[in-house]
Symmetry: C2
Subunit: 342 residues, 2 copies
């Protein structure tokens, strides 16, 4: 499975980056950074940035994207006992004696796209495969026995302004991908997404949701009923991952194409930057992946924090988003109370 | 002590806000917000903001400050057993049975000033008094017995560009205030400040330090030797707090006056916003007060997050701050390796 996942995410990264580059041929290309992790592993970060005119020495053309990162990483190492203990809750097959470390392998793609136009939503997606193996004794040959594996991921949309048809398109595309693999997947993962991307101190969600899931394997799943139709073998789950991964471009590109030409004012921009402040709050305070990364001594900080927007804004007691009937209030109502889009 | 602290912080807040308003008579005044906490307590937030020209409908004059907050709060309530357990480490007089809550009282002033000019440093200060009392049984009269109390606080400077004379002035002023109350205070609290404002995932400090201290009471102190001259009674400690609180304006205002007229470029501004990104990272990920506030269900979020700058910026693998000999690299060297300023 390792090689198949690696091949898939490499290809998906390339397709996604090419698509964005094709949309905006006059913009700078994504910067491709290959890196090696001394503790084991490698990755490719593809990052877009174009300093706006105010920070550029020459005249810069407005680009569709403001900041974007499409990263893949394939890493391995040893999992400390504390991490194993936590993972055992959902993966009972992992042996745990309270003191041993176990080898792990993780491969995934993670992307965040912050467009420049305030009417274009930010989007995030992440698909990953995790594997834990037995320790291989010195002198032993051959691959180590896999004691647990699972897939996780999801994709979610964060608009500053609500366009219901875009929200519906995004959810419909993801639902269509899920439904090929089982009826229960979309409703369960849509709900999980609304729960995960919740900002308790603001009593609002980060965006209008999408999919979020973890721990997909042959084992019993805490959020899916035992008798439902769903992918249950490694091959079937990987096929599901490919279907939702492949659905990323069709779920998002039409929205970006439709909203990018819309005219916007400085007030639209101000609201977009305030919303990006909330994005920063969620990512730094609550996002599991970010928190885990920041605590990992040898982690690649630049890859972890590439999810942050180029610019964010905070106003004390802002008056934006409170006037009844305003466009800003319309999105706030949805963030305070997640909706069904289909 | 409660009334004396309350009176002092009210007066200090007024003096600080007036001083900033007097410096920039054409700027909008600080917005004064009095609030009540339904669970017990009150406060006054004094907040400065002036949307820059780009977000204003009419022409706006450039202000000295970009965003600032000078807040006081006087709150009381019940401390859950988990919080009591943690506080007992430094305050052995607190009774703890693992299940009872205890009444607490907290009064403090907290301020953050983000000036507009990239050559002017951000400054933060916070002084507070904390008290834990015995439970008062129903029907009992009179004030509850105090089982533990302590003072804490500090002040630190976060420049985007290093001016050694300003760093020395800031530290010298704070040292002068400390030295009136004991020789050991400045060195111990300067070191504590460098340790506290450290951003592990960036391997750098938030700024060039100042003072940080906590748990000042009649009890033994983990960071001060038993035989040193230092304030040991409630009255003496409160006198020390007033001396360092009063030192805030002389420690900072001359720096602001000197740096505000300095010309700056768009590259200076860009670097300032990148440094403000790090400020956001520290406050949201590590700051104890912010973390505690975000977890408190009924906390006043707008007051807690008033410390965030108006605007912050993140660039993937920025090239700023890496060129040998540049002004940006000069401050980075100090943030990577804290210096003695006196």
């Amino acid at each position: 499975m390792r090689e198949q996942v690696e091949e898939y995410i490499f290809g998906l990264q390339e397709r996604i980056v090419s698509e964005f580059e094709g949309l905006d041929p006059n913009a700078p290309q994504f910067k491709r950074d290959s890196w090696l992790r001394t503790q084991g592993g490698k990755g490719v970060s593809c990052v877009f940035s174009a300093p706006p005119a105010i920070f550029a020495s020459s005249n810069t053309q407005e680009t569709i994207l403001e900041k974007a990162g499409v990263n893949i990483s394939i890493v391995h190492g040893m999992l400390p006992p504390a991490a194993i203990k936590e993972m055992r809750a959902d993966h009972s097959t992992i042996p745990y004696d309270g003191q041993s470390s176990l080898p792990f392998f993780a491969a995934g793609i993670s992307l965040v796209v912050h467009p420049r136009n305030p009417h274009s939503p930010t989007v995030h997606a992440n698909y990953r495969y995790f594997e834990i193996t037995e320790k291989v004794a010195e002198g032993e040959e051959g691959p180590a026995k896999v004691v647990a594996w699972w897939f996780g991921g999801g994709s979610d949309l964060t608009p500053s302004y609500l366009y219901e048809e875009d929200a519906a398109h995004f959810h419909n595309t993801l639902k269509g991908a899920c439904d090929k693999h089982g009826d229960e997947l979309y409703p369960a993962f849509k709900k999980w997404c609304d729960e995960y991307f919740y900002i308790p101190h603001r009593s609002e969600t980060r965006g209008i949701g999408g999919l979020f899931f973890d721990d997909l394997s042959t084992e019993k799943h805490a959020r899916l009923s035992e008798d439902s139709k769903r992918p249950r073998t490694a091959e079937d789950i990987f096929a599901f991952i490919r279907t939702v991964g492949d659905a990323f471009l069709p779920s998002y590109i039409p929205i970006l194409k439709r909203t990018n030409p819309l005219p916007s004012t400085e007030q639209h921009r101000r609201w977009q930057l305030l919303r990006r402040g909330r994005y920063v709050e969620f990512n730094l305070v609550y996002d599991r992946g970010t928190k885990f990364g920041l605590k990992t001594p040898s982690a690649r900080i630049e890859s972890i924090l590439m999810s942050l927007p180029e610019t964010a804004r905070w106003e004390y007691m802002t008056d934006m988003g409170t006037d009844e009937g305003s466009e800003e209030t319309k999105i706030m109502e949805v963030l305070k109370k997640p909706r069904e889009w289909i």
